[in-house]
Symmetry: C2
Subunit: 157 residues, 2 copies
């Protein structure tokens, strides 16, 4: 819409994210506990070995954390100041976390998926689950900055 | 909080997702146009070759699309009815789309990233950008259902 200055005022729509479950830590694994009203969305999920688990860094859901745009990766001041879009930091404008996880067990009808490879803290809201599709979710000839190239500590899930 | 029936009423918090830019199609590539107030978040992003681009299927942001929990993948009735969490359908409770993209060009200071491999429609709201980290974002011994195993049409980005 035109403003009084004649410049376009961009429309700042926001969107509503609704948790579809909770994530619980259980020893070395995590349990994705899907709410009853969303459990039909798990139909046939046991056909996949790996899932993307998307969640909300709810503990950072306050204006200060959402306005941070640059960080030292891994909180290490020796790593160069990097925009949050070039990190997996849990401080970012939209607090979406995303981990590739291996399905260890699907518990139906109680809507629980036991996974390994999840980094979420206990009690984190689950916002989406997507299948891992290797032919579109993996890349060739990958290039990383030096700080990220050092982070080879996590075992492939 | 306890309800009149004595059962726990789960707390249905929702979270606010704020677009950080727009996605525009431009021939064979897409342009991620980050809003001025978020451009600092792109600092040093050119060190990566590949990004995860997260966006909002805004055209489906109405109750009917968000309540669909099962689909025939690829809209093919021959594919078995599958829960949306086992598909990349753009109908799902939270309308997050996610593509692995290759950076073709970073245009600064205008906050534009030209990418290939994005499936978003022109004008789609951009909600997050994350780096692709091959050591945590790729899996071994992947298993897929038969319908998904056939979808090997997309070139690796």
């Amino acid at each position: 819409m035109p403003s009084e200055t004649g410049l376009e005022t961009p429309q700042k729509t926001t969107y509503e994210l609704r948790p579809v479950g909770d994530i619980h830590r259980s020893g070395e694994v995590h349990v994705l506990a899907v709410f009853p009203e969303y459990r039909q969305g798990l139909t046939a999920i046991e056909g996949f070995s790996h899932l993307w688990v998307l969640y909300w860094f709810h503990e950072n859901d306050e204006p200060a954390s959402r306005s941070i745009l640059q960080v030292h990766p891994r909180k290490d001041p020796k790593n160069p100041l990097t925009g949050v879009f070039g990190t997996r930091s849990h401080m970012r404008p939209n607090l979406i976390g995303m981990d590739l996880c291996r399905i260890e067990e699907v518990r139906q009808p109680c809507g629980e998926i036991v996974v390994s490879g999840c980094q979420a803290r206990d009690g984190t809201p689950l916002v989406d689950i997507k299948p891992y599709l290797p032919y579109s979710d993996s890349a060739r000839e990958v290039r990383l900055p030096e700080w990220a190239g050092k982070l080879r500590h996590k075992e492939l899930p």
